[in-house]
Subunit: 222 residues, 2 copies
Amino acid sequence: MKSVTKFVKVVTNMGHRKIPESTISRLFVYLREIASLANMNIRTISSGELGERLNLSDAQVRKDLGYFGQFGVSGSGYDTNELKAALEKILGKNKTWNVAVVGVGHLGSALLTYPGFKEHGLNLVAAFDSDARKIGKEISGVTIEAFENMPKAVKNNKVSIGVIAVPAQRAQEVADKFVSAGIKCILNFAPTSLNVPEDVKVKDVDLSRELETLSYFLAGKK
Amino acid sequence: MKSVTKFVKVVTNMGHRKIPESTISRLFVYLREIASLANMNIRTISSGELGERLNLSDAQVRKDLGYFGQFGVSGSGYDTNELKAALEKILGKNKTWNVAVVGVGHLGSALLTYPGFKEHGLNLVAAFDSDARKIGKEISGVTIEAFENMPKAVKNNKVSIGVIAVPAQRAQEVADKFVSAGIKCILNFAPTSLNVPEDVKVKDVDLSRELETLSYFLAGKK
DNA sequence: CTTTCTTTGTGAAAAGTGTTACAAAGTTCG
DNA sequence: CGAACTTTGTAACACTTTTCACAAAGAAAG
Ligand SMILES: NC(=O)c1ccc[n+]([C@@H]2O[C@H](COP(=O)([O-])OP(=O)(O)OC[C@H]3O[C@@H](n4cnc5c(N)ncnc54)[C@H](O)[C@@H]3O)[C@@H](O)[C@H]2O)c1
Ligand SMILES: NC(=O)c1ccc[n+]([C@@H]2O[C@H](COP(=O)([O-])OP(=O)(O)OC[C@H]3O[C@@H](n4cnc5c(N)ncnc54)[C@H](O)[C@@H]3O)[C@@H](O)[C@H]2O)c1
């Protein structure tokens, strides 16, 4: 095993260029794949091979990584362990985030019981519902609290991401309370457009719309 | 009430122009909002007001609709009932689609019990699992069948959309079986890249990645 | 009917995102 | 070592999507 000091640029967001959100999203996919490769003791991989595994072009892989530095070696590709470490640094995988869920119905319960989040540094630390029958119950080690307690609990638990899993008519009031509790990131499952201050980032996951959009293209084919 | 015959272009995808997928996705949002407005007896709305409700620009609204025809009236905006009808026609809301779910765990169960899909013309008609203890059980009127039965059941039930809600390591085999059963549209919840023929459309919903991507931007702010 | 105001529909410009293409760097092998 | 290969990093190009901006259409008011 060679022991050579290398001077590879590993700078988080180098020249203050604007990075597409789609790039960030793909970086997480690269990391997942690279971690799996490293785990299988595969030492290097080229952008072409990586892209093939993920259904992306080689150029896309190189361009995405290129936003953050130079991680590859001409002629042989990327060292999986090095790239894994670099991606973990870029994506802040050393940090963990506390997440609160409001609405412990079917979807909220599924999220709370999913063991995969922890592996990604996402800790679901609190859950809230307005249904008195659910309050006090425990799910995956989290005790369901009254919705009214949410702002206090968010502060006590240092929650930085809020998940909305209540019916659409209730979603805006939950969002408002998240905002007033200081939450800056919201994942919203309710099929409705939330109004929040512009420093708050909302990501909508609208499952009906995903299926409907799929069906539209199906209709076009027939 | 005036009774005037109007010659408004209501043609589905007029000049064979390519329509962005994001436009289609937004049209479903417009329809949801317009239906709600029509229901509240609001008769007309301008692109500006509609955009404001949905956090979109007026130009975006007009351009999206413009792909399919001319639905507005200068000076007053869009008639909610007319636009609702037009959008329903464009989006094929007269049709219904049969959907099959493979993997009746936490997420699969949540989907099967969600009453909202039916309102969107999405019928979850079949569910499959490989766990012998689950087979034969009923969820929201759907009896869970053995995974092996899937291709036959897909054909018998005229299923056109498949949902994958199994662990990542099992997702590819489920996708393969969907493909061999003739499915052309797949909604995939497993955090893995599926390989399918190019005439099959896969839509990934990766909840961990959504949360992680949110957290990335959170990290950038601090 | 005319003026004023509102709002549409749509080319043209701008911004954003992905692909192509290739010089430069590094590897492999005789 | 040198020739033949492989692969990176990125500038230039191509394509997609959004925003701008305004003429034209219609509404409203007197
Ligand atoms: N389950 C699905 O497959 C699915 C699919 C598409 C969309 N969605 C959307 O996701 C959201 C959640 O869906 P679900 O199936 O889990 O619903 P659900 O009805 O099973 O659960 C909703 C929960 O929210 C709680 N709640 C209601 N108002 C509240 C409030 N103000 N504060 C706190 N809690 C409140 C209810 O008590 C209930 O426990 C809904 O907006 C739904 O439209 C769900
Ligand atoms: N639940 C969540 O909140 C969540 C969050 C992020 C991602 N996901 C992903 O969604 C998928 C489903 O998650 P879940 O929480 O519902 O998992 P789960 O473990 O609760 O359920 C998975 C189900 O799939 C069944 N199954 C396994 N192999 C099968 C096969 N070959 N054919 C048919 N059925 C099979 C299992 O018997 C089980 O019932 C997973 O890929 C998971 O990574 C879930």
